[in-house]
């Protein structure tokens, strides 16, 4: 992490102590403001049901850690099952998006082929239609393809992710790849590299920031995705975390708000850790890899 200062080292050298301290203070103040709602959430996760409705303060009057055990064991299955399901779907989505979107992005960013402009426009176009009108047609389509209700209910959630249908990531990677100097390709070309060779030896190694970003977002967004998972999953043992979290609150009858908060807090942990692990790779930017443009 040390060698990565991408801005000029001279700056900090003038009066390092003061600058550092000032920045830290600024950051801590912003963080405190930004995190207050989350602290409130943490506080609420240890309040009793009655207090959640009536005490809107940050801290509970009566510390109720039982919400965690109750939430974990609230259903026939332990809540851990939902964590495993979510982790599986999210990780498989990360892999699918990273691979398929990278391939497509390379084609758009670097290769010249017929109709490229049109395909690119179509790709951006697929970003623009509000998803709620697509879910019913998609369900009908998937069902007619026999993908719904099979042995493995996650199929309709995952197949699109392996076919680069998340245009967001394709576009993201295109933008990043276009930041890679083309001289590198040209040099490889002169050495006789094919488009496949250039992809393998030039683009792939330099696409790490884009891949890491894609990994982070696909993981988190899949982890939080409610609607599609709700529609395609139909039995308790297949449910994922976002679906399971809604089970605590049937707003017209029973509601277990405390356990819901407790499990919501817990469900932040895996994504938070995933983020911390992957953002390290963002720290090690590409200029440490000895690239000279």
């Amino acid at each position: 992490m040390v060698a990565v200062t991408s801005t000029a080292p001279r700056q900090g050298a003038r009066k390092p102590g003061g600058r550092q301290a000032l920045r830290l203070v600024v950051l801590i103040v912003i963080v405190a403001v930004v995190l207050y709602p989350l602290l409130w959430m943490l506080g609420t996760s240890v309040k009793s049901q009655e207090e959640i409705v009536n005490n809107i303060g940050l801290l509970p009057e009566r510390f109720t850690p039982g919400n965690y055990t109750q939430g974990w064991n609230n259903f026939d299955l332990s809540f851990g099952r939902f964590f495993l399901n979510s982790a599986m779907v999210s990780l498989l989505t990360v892999v699918g998006n990273a691979v398929s979107c990278l391939l497509a992005a390379y084609a758009f960013a670097r290769l010249r082929f017929r109709l490229r402009g049109i395909w690119f426009a179509v790709m951006i176009g697929t970003l623009l239609l509000p998803g709620h009108v697509l879910i019913v047609p998609q369900y009908i389509l998937f069902r007619s393809l026999g993908l719904v209700g099979g042995e493995w209910p996650y199929l309709p959630l995952l197949i699109p992710q392996y076919l680069a249908t998340e245009a967001f990531f394709v576009f993201l990677m295109v933008q990043f790849m276009r930041g890679i100097p083309r001289e590198l390709d040209e040099a490889a070309k002169i050495d006789g590299a094919s488009p496949y060779g250039i992809f393998r030896h030039v683009i792939l190694p330099l696409s790490r920031p884009a891949l890491v970003t894609t990994a982070i977002f696909s993981f988190i967004w899949t982890w939080n995705d409610f609607f599609r998972q709700l529609v395609f999953l139909s039995s308790l043992e297949d449910y994922t975390v976002p679906v399971a979290l809604t089970l605590f609150i049937d707003s017209t009858s029973q509601s277990a708000v405390g356990p819901m908060f407790a499990m919501s807090v817990l469900s932040l942990l895996p994504v938070f850790l995933f983020f911390l692990a992957f953002q390290r790779m963002l720290v090690e930017g590409i200029n440490t890899s000895g690239l000279k443009g």
Binding site: V2, R10, Q11, L27, L35, Y36, P37, W40, M41, I56, L103, A104, Y106, A109, R110, L111, R112, F113, R114, F120, I124, L127, L129, P130, V133, L134, V136, P137, L141, P160, A164, T165, F171, V174, Q175, F176, R178, G179, R182, E183, E186, P195, F199, V212, F217, I220, W221, N224, P242, L245, M260, L268, F272, F275, L276, Q279, L282, G285, N287, G293
Partner: protein
């Protein structure tokens, strides 16, 4: 989208070492074209098999009275009736357009500014920077969960935390979330608060700026501000462009926050009735999916126009290291 601005469309040779003129590359052309389609094939299969059919189906349904419950084979073609109703007979449609425009115009720039500002603060490596990045990302991790709705309402209620804070200065607060004059602002604040995604993209983009450029600039005696203006911004421009385009699209689509905060109603008194929320209500609650599809396609066209404008202005300020524009 302007086709003329699709990557590499023009043979502009602005890079330091211009690549070979097109015709001269004839030997490679064929292989590259094939390779292009090879690399594109997963996406193309996805487009044909997964994305395009539902999209076209929704286009078709926008000319019908589809209500979800009636089988597709029995829907009735109603021509332009849905579109006509939207523009002439549905006052809440125009209201939603107005709400959405207000939301996007305010929330998108502020969110991007917050994301870029914090990304710049967290760009350099120092002990604990990862934790700070994580903490700033935390709000975005919440997505649109049930818990978030309860949290936000309790922050900005009449007796919420924000008003307690104001009370320190002797200011009497308003019932922000429950006040039709202010509910949209709390919604904007929620969107801005979740600035994690563009922040991460900015961070990743900043990592791509070659350090030599700063060294060169400081040798030339450029101060910090000039470095930012002449090095960071141009080098970051593809990523800024990406964030601008995507956050604008997201801003206009902004469904989740509105849905969660208003319990799916767009209230109080439609003050948070975002376009996509109205579309969802029309499609799923009122079971008028044909009408909802028509709304979606008008939306697509409007956003496509805005995106086209971005892409065509992008030529003047987005700097690509691949030398193309």
């Amino acid at each position: 989208m302007a086709l003329t601005t699709a990557p590499g469309r023009t043979g502009s040779t602005r890079s330091a070492r211009p690549h070979a003129p097109r015709r001269g590359a004839g030997r490679n052309r064929h292989g590259e074209g094939l390779a292009g389609y090879v690399f594109l094939s997963p996406w193309l299969i996805g487009l044909m098999g997964v994305t395009a059919i539902p999209m076209l189906l929704s286009l078709y349904l926008s000319f019908t009275n589809y209500d979800i419950l009636t089988p597709l084979s029995e829907v009735e073609w109603v021509g332009l009736a849905n579109y006509e109703r939207m523009f002439t007979a549905d006052p809440s449609y125009w209201h939603a357009v107005q709400v959405t425009l207000t939301f996007a115009l305010v929330a998108v720039p502020l969110k991007l500014a917050a994301a870029l500002g914090v990304a710049l603060l967290l760009n350099r490596a120092w002990r604990g920077v990862g934790l700070f990045r994580g903490l700033f990302y935390l709000p975005s991790l919440l997505g649109g969960s049930v818990a978030l709705a309860i949290v936000w309402v309790n922050m900005f209620n009449r007796d919420g935390a924000f008003n307690s804070f104001l009370a320190i200065f002797g200011i009497e607060g308003l019932p922000w979330v429950n006040d039709p004059e202010w509910a949209l602002e709390t919604l904007m604040l929620l969107a801005i608060w979740q600035f994690g995604a563009p922040m991460v993209i900015f961070l990743a983009g900043l990592k791509q700026v070659p350090g030599e450029l700063y060294e060169a600039a400081s040798v030339d005696g450029a101060n910090r501000f000039r470095q930012f203006w002449h090095v960071t911004l141009p080098m970051l421009s593809p990523v800024i462009f990406f964030n601008l385009v995507l956050e604008t699209i997201n801003g206009f689509q902004g469904f989740t926050a509105a849905f969660v905060l208003s319990n799916g109603t767009g209230g109080p008194v439609d003050s948070t009735l975002m376009y996509t929320l109205q579309l969802y209500i029309a499609g799923f609650t009122d079971l008028e999916m044909g009408y909802a599809s028509a709304m979606a396609w008008v939306f697509l066209i409007a956003i496509a126009l805005i995106t086209t404008i971005f892409f065509s202005t992008g030529r003047f300020w987005v700097h690509y290291s691949d030398g193309e524009r």
